[in-house]
């Protein structure tokens, strides 16, 4: 797998992990504080694992890839950048769409000829089972809520943009929706920069510090 592909995966998981962590302390109830914080933690753990593979190809380290690039250099899909920490229905809509899309690409990676990539995909897939269960439980509860349905409609073009063209048909089948024009990876929303400012603030304040 080449470095941009690895970075796309890693950046998606890092930025989404960051967004999910914004619910820590303010989720609708205590169980969800715990759940979203835990999901954020595992997403960021997956990001680190992908960054470590990319870092070997690029002769750097995982932290540099996560924190020392400019916002424009991140390869995450616009879906994960959106700030939703005041809107639970939208958050669950993204959670469901992202986890469904992520499963599709991970299934493809399970068959990678690169044994390290396939092994990591296998490990991540098993951990993500719990994210999917959580998303499905919530989607079941919110299925008929207008706010949730509206959010799924709004985010659908973004969800398609998580996957490469050839995998999008599988996502359409999984969520029973028609393919529309996707919001493609490569362009960023305005919401990425404020996230980046906050995420890299400590690292930028004392370059090269270790603790």
């Amino acid at each position: 797998m080449n470095a941009p592909e690895l970075l796309s995966l890693a950046d998606d998981e890092l930025i989404l992990g960051w967004r999910n962590s914004e619910w820590t302390g303010i989720a609708p109830f205590l169980e969800e504080d715990v759940a979203f914080s835990s999901i954020a933690q595992t997403e960021i753990g997956h990001a680190r694992a992908w960054y470590e593979l990319a870092a070997r190809e690029l002769d750097t380290d995982a932290d540099s890839l996560a924190f020392d690039r400019e916002p424009d250099e991140y390869l995450c899909a616009p879906l994960v950048e959106r700030r939703m920490a005041d809107d639970w229905a939208r958050t669950i809509a993204r959670h469901l769409l992202y986890e469904t899309a992520d499963r599709i690409r991970i299934q493809v990676l399970l068959n990678s000829i690169d044994r390290e990539v396939a092994g990591l995909a296998e490990k991540i897939d098993r951990e993500e089972t719990y994210h999917r269960m959580h998303a499905e439980m919530w989607a079941e509860r919110l299925r008929d809520e207008p706010a949730f349905r509206k959010a799924v409609d709004e985010l659908w073009p973004y969800a398609l943009g998580v996957l490469p063209q050839e995998q999008r048909r599988l996502l359409c089948e999984a969520v029973e929706r028609d393919e529309v024009e996707a919001v493609e990876r490569g362009e960023h929303t305005e919401e990425l920069r404020p996230l980046w400012e906050e995420m890299t603030m400590v690292r930028r304040s004392v370059p090269g510090a270790s603790w």
Binding site: E31, V34, A35, S37, S38, I39, Q41, T42, E43, I44, G45, H46, R48, A49, R115, E116, G119, L120, E122, K123, I124, R126, E127, T129, Y130, M133, H134, E136, M137
Partner: protein
């Protein structure tokens, strides 16, 4: 010269940083030990990728092997850890400390988690329900026992 058996014994004395009733060997994260002269190779697979205990575990293994007078080489394997690898002894220790061991074989399904038999580690009742898929660390869920009215931590099936 150090033997593989001696290394296994030493690693079995290292407590898991987050669930200290278990040793790293009980948890099944140490997959193999090979001794080649002064060098000791350990194949190791952490439970969850986001687990912050990974580095602590690795450092402790390195330290213990050095104490045995050997040169450690701890390799993190790409193969994924499974809760099926927690030993029988590990299951017993978990139960004794009020912590429900994984109650099933991987892979986990939602139906299994919601409807399977999950005995309470305190009173043994199977009248328990899932309270939260997620818990204080990535490897735990929270269940509630309706018989003794006690929430408890359930090791996830992975």
């Amino acid at each position: 010269m150090v033997t593989a058996e001696r290394v296994w014994e030493a690693l079995a004395e290292i407590p898991d940083p987050e669930i200290p009733v278990l040793s790293l060997v009980d948890l099944g994260v140490v997959r193999d030990v090979e001794v080649d002269g002064e060098r000791v190779h350990v194949g190791f697979t952490p439970t969850f990728l986001g687990c912050p205990a990974l580095e602590v575990m690795r450092d402790q293994m390195v330290e213990r092997i050095r104490e045995l007078g050997a040169e450690p080489d701890v390799e993190v394997l790409s193969e994924g850890w499974s809760s099926d690898w927690i030993t029988e002894e590990g299951h017993r220790k978990l139960r004794d400390s009020g912590f429900a061991p994984p109650s099933g074989r991987a892979p986990a399904t939602l139906v299994q988690i919601q409807t399977g038999t999950h005995p309470c580690p305190y009173c043994g009742s199977t009248d328990t329900r899932l309270d939260n898929l997620f818990g204080p660390t990535p490897c735990r869920s929270i269940r509630y026992c309706s018989a003794c009215r006690q929430p408890f931590e359930q090791f996830k099936i992975l």
